[in-house]
């Protein structure tokens, strides 16, 4: 069977209805990966044997007539930032090249419960630090729409795998845009839930107060399905919120009426590509046509978002990554003179340039004498950004704008210019600082055939609103039906 155009919901139907076995589905998925991933390089590790084992178990379950999970028989790829018991979990870093976790991340356990088939781990920027997947210590993933271009990052492997039709669903993580930006650049749906919506237990931390796990899919219904499987309270993550999880898949079919959309003028300033702006404006007209009220709004403090983010995220990262010292697990330098030398060499050899840059930056901004000027001030800015959003959401249901300022850029184009790279997250970062849910959906293509993403943001824990509003657009357009050649 061809995986390319089959949605997760359809695959589950085929499996539950007996038209296909999980084994057949998995074989087909692995075959597509074999065919395509040589070019795309979305995966770091394909667990063929493990996937077929899981498929057999799910087939047996069906044979016994047992109740089948929400993702029964559906192949799912996992960003390599999630711990999977007994499987390589590298976080895109050399320092974890030999690390196999003794436990499953909460999200992984949930997917197993839902009878999903976990086919492998996808490429990412090392420790989720980057916007192009070029910071992976292993290889660079390519955008299925143009192999010369980036799929975005840091969840570039997951996004590319879904866009290339290798898997119908994938999990990513988003600290400053790492789900939404690659979804936008790859022409698929990617969602970052509200902070606290999905348990971070087993997610290898980058910026703990910003990190969230979320779904990639080729349509809204599938994204809703995957989100519903992984969302909800988990006692092992103190920041996971005790709130009921709405029936996302069903609710997303209900159009939101009346609908007021806030359009922040700050999201349409200098640096925004003309074709991207045109596609976003056109999308707003679609909503207008559906009866939505469009409101010009302002988020005055978002202009400080990138700066605040690079203080908060790096501060947390400098501490989160301190444990990779060659001592208890992970890579240890082979030659060293003493303890400090072991730390220095293990870390010096194990971490890539961008990770080192962020550890140094984060260490600096927390240092005595600088803490108040940088870290503490960034926290203040963070509160102001949150307040900006709160005010807008008093009068608007959602905020809409571009996901990224440009379509997919060329591989190597921004590697030497970290600041330019950081700016590709300029529209996504503030949602992480404010803890908001955000989604990127396909809203058009450039003249040269590159996808353009539309970002929709909502107030905390209003994921269902995002899905409803996104689905309204999806129903009116066919951007999501296009596939890379």
């Amino acid at each position: 069977m061809a995986m390319m155009d089959t949605s997760a919901a359809e695959i589950r139907q085929l499996f539950v209805g007996g038209q296909a076995s999980a084994r057949e589905i998995t074989h087909s998925c692995l075959e597509v990966i074999r065919q395509r991933d040589g070019n795309i390089k979305a995966f770091l590790h394909v667990d063929e044997a493990g996937a077929l084992d899981q498929a057999r178990l799910v087939d047996e379950k069906r044979a016994r007539g047992e109740a089948l999970g929400q993702l029964a028989g559906v192949p799912v790829a996992l960003k390599d930032v999630l711990c999977v018991r007994g499987q390589p979990t590298t976080c895109g870093s050399k320092i974890l090249a030999s690390f196999t976790p003794p436990y499953d991340a909460h999200v992984v356990a949930r997917l197993r419960q839902a009878d999903a088939i976990l086919v492998g781990k996808t490429n990412m920027d090392e420790f989720a630090m980057g916007s192009s997947t070029e910071n992976s210590a292993y290889h660079t993933t390519r955008n299925p729409w143009d192999l010369e271009r980036t799929p975005g990052g840091s969840s570039g492997g997951s996004a590319a795998a879904v866009a290339a039709g290798e898997v119908p669903l994938a999990i990513g993580s988003d600290t400053g845009g790492s789900i939404r930006q690659p979804a936008g650049l790859c022409g698929i749906v990617g969602m970052k839930p509200s902070y606290g919506r999905v348990s971070r237990f087993g997610l290898i931390a980058y910026g703990s107060s910003l990190d969230q796990i979320g779904p990639f899919a080729r349509n809204i219904a599938d994204a809703a399905l995957l989100l519903a499987c992984v969302a909800g309270h988990d006692a092992r993550d103190s920041t996971s919120v005790e709130r009921a999880v709405p029936a996302y898949a069903q609710m997303s079919e209900q159009p939101l009426r009346p609908l007021t959309i806030g359009v922040p003028r700050e999201f349409f300033g200098a640096g925004l590509d003309g074709e991207v702006e045109k596609a976003v404006r056109a999308a707003l007209e679609v909503y207008q046509g559906l009866g939505a009220t469009i409101r010009d709004v302002s988020l005055p403090h978002t202009r400080f978002a990138v700066a605040a983010y690079y203080l908060v995220a790096t501060a947390e990262a400098s501490s989160n990554l301190a444990r990779y010292d060659g001592g208890h697990f992970g890579r240890r330098a082979t030659m060293f003179d003493n303890l400090i030398d072991m730390y220095c060499r293990s870390r010096g050899e194990g971490f890539g340039a961008e990770v080192k840059r962020r550890i140094m930056l984060g260490t600096h901004v927390l240092s005595s004498g600088y803490r108040d000027a940088y870290y503490v001030k960034a926290l203040k800015v963070r509160r102001l950004i949150k307040q900006d959003f709160d005010e807008v959401f008093n009068n608007c249901d959602v905020i809409i704008g571009p996901t990224s300022p440009t379509p997919a850029f060329k591989l190597g184009e921004k590697v030497g210019d970290p600041l330019a790279m950081y700016l590709s997250d300029v529209y996504t970062i503030s949602a992480n600082l404010a803890g908001l849910p955000g989604i990127s959906i396909p809203c058009g293509f450039t003249g040269s055939g590159l996808p353009i993403g539309l970002q929709i943001l909502a107030a905390p824990f209003e994921e269902q609103k995002l899905l409803q509003v996104a689905r309204m657009f999806e129903r009116e357009t066919d951007w999501h039906d296009r596939r890379p050649g």
């Binding site: 999630l82 711990c83 979990t89 976080c91 974890l96 690390f99 976790p101 003794p102 436990y103 991340a105 971070r200 237990f201 087993g202 997610l203 290898i204 931390a205 910026g207 703990s208 107060s209 006692a235 092992r236 993550d237 103190s238 920041t239 501060a315 947390e316 400098s318 501490s319 301190a322 444990r323 010292d325 001592g327 208890h328 697990f329 303890l339 730390y343 260490t363 927390l366 240092s367 005595s368 803490r371 870290y375």
Partner: protein, 502 residues
């Protein structure tokens, strides 16, 4: 006069005490805190600091900490949070410790101590909660080549109690530590075993020495570590006091002068000296920031009241009450209180039953305590009940049995004899209380000891004791002591006046 008496100066000591809380499980994971398990067996991804693992606060540990803080008279904050203290060390798997920085759960308390000069309050700056680190086992055989890490202890809840620099002597240091130990053991907060490391103490010490010009010179502050017993802490403080005084006479270096830094010293129990380990050229930069993996903790005023109500009577209050209620000396009250609440309750029960608190306190402070120490027993397992001891005291009073034979009776009861009477019967003790019978024995003893009588006449009243001893030997200690004393003095005086007349 010794050097230390020759000049007046002030010793200034601030103590930083860490105690492990008596919880079943660790502060941020479900691993066991039991001491002495095989290395690294009580560990999990959370306390090993594995990638992706997250801490979840142990509510029971927090409640215990609040209890301790209230007993230490601290103000418990309604809102508190966790912070990361960042530093690299192999016993710290995450290379940061989850601790509390600017908003500790409690601040501004005091501990009342009595180092023999009456009660005194030592101010406390703060009490906060944090996770313990693991333990490094240095391989002595490997020539220092290998060190092993045991992470069983990593993540054990640890209470840090920071005093103001108000401890004024080595004796007060001891009293402070003993008081903390008593208080926290009584409340079930910690077992406070310094040997096992469930109570650890670092001491900051310097001297304030008055100068001829009227100013006061402070010596450089030294932080003394590696203090493994209360006695060691006291000794170290005594040593360091002397060392700093002598050093000051030599170099005159003062705290606050350029180039003068706080130093860290290790106490060497073998040589009984401190050894300067490193100078703190600059304060370590721990890069504290709020722990993003944990949510802040709120404590309601109602909850604080609830915990406070559960505290019961604390040692300082007992030390004040016992003299007032029972007429005990401050010293005796201190001895009883130091043994804990169950001991005090035993005292109060026995004193009530026999009606003689002073005598009860004497028995408890001496014989009972000694027996408990020998058998390493707690008072609640003591074979003689409070009623039994009251019975013994009553019987002694009624019969006037002397101390030595009383102790034999006590020993018999300790061995299981249910009453003082039965014990005395068993020992064949029959107190001679007949005046004529005793007078007879006394006269015979006087007649047999002419030298003692002569000495007594010369004014050596002590000489009477020799005769009394003879009477006691004669009666196998069963003579009523005060009656013997009375008769003996009468007879000696009579013998004296007879001789004068004769």
């Amino acid at each position: 006069m010794t050097w230390s008496e020759s000049i007046s100066y002030r010793t200034v000591i601030g103590l930083e005490v860490h105690v492990q809380l008596l919880t079943r499980t660790k502060l941020f994971c479900g691993c066991s805190t039991t001491f002495g398990q095989p290395p690294n067996s009580a560990t999990c991804p959370v306390c090993l600091g594995l990638p992706g693992a997250l801490p979840v606060m142990n509510r029971r540990a927090f409640d215990l900490a609040v209890k301790a803080a209230l007993a230490l008279n601290c103000r418990v904050a309604g809102f508190t949070k966790w912070d990361r203290k960042n530093y690299f060390y192999p016993d710290l798997p995450k290379n940061y410790q989850i601790s509390q920085y600017d908003l500790p759960f409690s601040e501004e308390g005091w501990l009342e101590i009595d180092a023999g000069q009456g009660p005194r309050r030592i101010g406390l700056i703060r009490v906060h909660l944090e996770e313990d680190a693991g333990k490094l086992l240095h391989d002595e055989n490997g020539g220092g080549q290998a060190s092993r890490v045991d992470l069983n202890r990593a993540g054990t809840p640890l209470l840090e109690i920071v005093s103001k620099p108000e401890v004024a002597s080595p004796e007060e240091t001891r009293a402070y530590l003993e008081e903390i130990r008593l208080l926290l053991r009584e409340l079930g907060v910690s077992d406070c075993e310094m040997q096992e490391g469930s109570l650890r103490c670092d001491a900051n010490i310097n001297l304030h020495i008055p100068q001829a010009d009227g100013s006061v010179a402070a010596t450089p502050i030294v932080e003394v570590k590696n203090l493994n017993s209360v006695a060691a802490v006291e000794r170290a403080m005594r040593y360091e006091t002397q060392r700093q005084f002598e050093q000051f006479q030599k170099d005159g270096k003062k705290w606050g002068e350029p180039g003068v830094h706080k130093a860290t010293a290790g106490w060497d129990e073998n040589s009984r000296t401190t050894r300067i380990q490193r100078r703190k050229e600059e304060a370590a930069d721990y890069r504290y920031f709020p722990e993003p993996d944990l949510v802040p903790v709120t404590v309601s005023a109602a909850r604080v009241d609830e915990v406070r109500a559960e505290l019961g009577e604390l040692p300082a209050a007992q030390r004040a009450r016992l003299p007032a209620q029972y007429g005990l000396s401050a010293y005796d009250a201190g001895v009883l209180t130091r043994q804990g609440r169950a001991f005090v309750a035993y005292f109060e029960e026995a004193a009530r039953l026999c009606g003689d608190a002073k005598e009860t306190a004497n028995w408890l402070a001496n014989d009972v305590l000694q027996a408990l120490n020998e058998s390493k027993q707690a008072i609640r397992y003591f074979p003689i009940s409070a009623a039994g001891l009251a019975d013994l005291i009553g019987e002694i009073k009624a019969t006037g049995l002397n101390k030595q034979r009383s102790r034999e009776v006590f020993a018999e009861m300790l061995a299981g004899c249910p009453s003082a009477k039965q014990a005395m019967d068993k020992l064949g003790i029959k107190v001679i209380a007949d005046r004529d019978q005793l007078a007879d024995i006394v006269r015979r003893a006087i007649a047999a000891n002419p030298t003692a009588v002569a000495d007594f006449k010369k004014g050596k009243t002590k000489a009477a004791d020799a005769i009394k001893g003879a009477v006691m030997r004669e009666t196998k200690g069963m003579a009523r002591t005060e009656l013997v004393q009375e008769i003996l003095l009468e007879e000696l005086h009579r013998a004296g006046s007879d001789a004068d007349r004769g």
